[in-house]
Symmetry: C2
Subunit: 217 residues, 2 copies
Amino acid sequence: MTPTITAFASSPDRGQGLARDMRVRWALEEVGHPYEVRLVSFDEMKAPAHMALHPFGQIPTYEEGGLVLFESGAIILHVAGRRPGLLPEDADARARAIGWMFAALNTVEPPILDLQIARMAEHDAPWAEQRLPLVHDRIRVRLDQLSARLGDANWLDGAFSAGDLMMVSVLIRLRSSGLLNEYPTLAAYVARGEARAAYQRAFAAQLAVFRAASARA
Amino acid sequence: MTPTITAFASSPDRGQGLARDMRVRWALEEVGHPYEVRLVSFDEMKAPAHMALHPFGQIPTYEEGGLVLFESGAIILHVAGRRPGLLPEDADARARAIGWMFAALNTVEPPILDLQIARMAEHDAPWAEQRLPLVHDRIRVRLDQLSARLGDANWLDGAFSAGDLMMVSVLIRLRSSGLLNEYPTLAAYVARGEARAAYQRAFAAQLAVFRAASARA
């Protein structure tokens, strides 16, 4: 059965691949699972039909037969459990890879989300400039620790896994801040993720949506 | 095999059960899995021996034979996969319950962490008072949506699951803010979680650690 995911009809990042459907597209490409995409506008995202699928009114969602999932972490874990390519066979190694997914989403991403809020929602606040260094420093604490653990390895724990997919996806959000450049091994880690054929296919697919929307506009 | 988890030797919340070992204790109690606890001081948490277990220098960790896990979400998912009591048997229902775990950690908890940062790390900042309403409002957006989805149900999706365990654990962090009182159905949801025998046992166990540390001090 071909699952259907949702994505922004008009991506706020202009096709840079920062929206969370990108993570799910990448995972589906890694395991070679075809999928369909339903585009939703910002108004549609907050309307009852979409809120029935996603109680927080966001993208992506994942529909497959009678199953409806939201949260990119949950969707990717589901996809990874169905087909090989994203999680190791060994039970302990699998648990550790899933651990890196949670680390990406609950330890590394929150301070990065905070930077996004500082730059978008609080951009004009009187404290914006003065507060930014604190936000940056909280991110650096995590990047210091992450780069120490990664060392000179290619991936976080053995072969590429859903944990790396999620961590790379989270770190990509830092690109425009310049912070990633302070950590050459993490920048190289992100580049290794982006160089994967599955990433490239997913990126091209979401960029095509943005270009088509721009051509219509 | 009896797993060993780590917890604060001296809990910063003075035994209120807000530290993340509480989530793992609760999960282990729900499935009836005995466990041991190793207490670590703040200095020990940042020392090489602990950083080898937890690259971000936090608690809890989980050790079981050769397996070392960190991130409470990953630990709880591992525990839930080993014994019945936290995840439904049906595959689709199981995927949805895991979805609520991710929603708790990646959608609901980040704005709550932001409030914690505002009240702790930025308490003396010149913008502290003026910024707080914005932080509160971002939390209210999520609580509005969560209470709309919960409606008058007891739990988020059928029977109590690891998704509820995680969501209740995240919402408990709001208690001192008073925000939870604005949402009677969510306050009742949290109270239902806290009333569970497994929660009570876990809470008593972490409180005993704090009391013993206080008695020594």
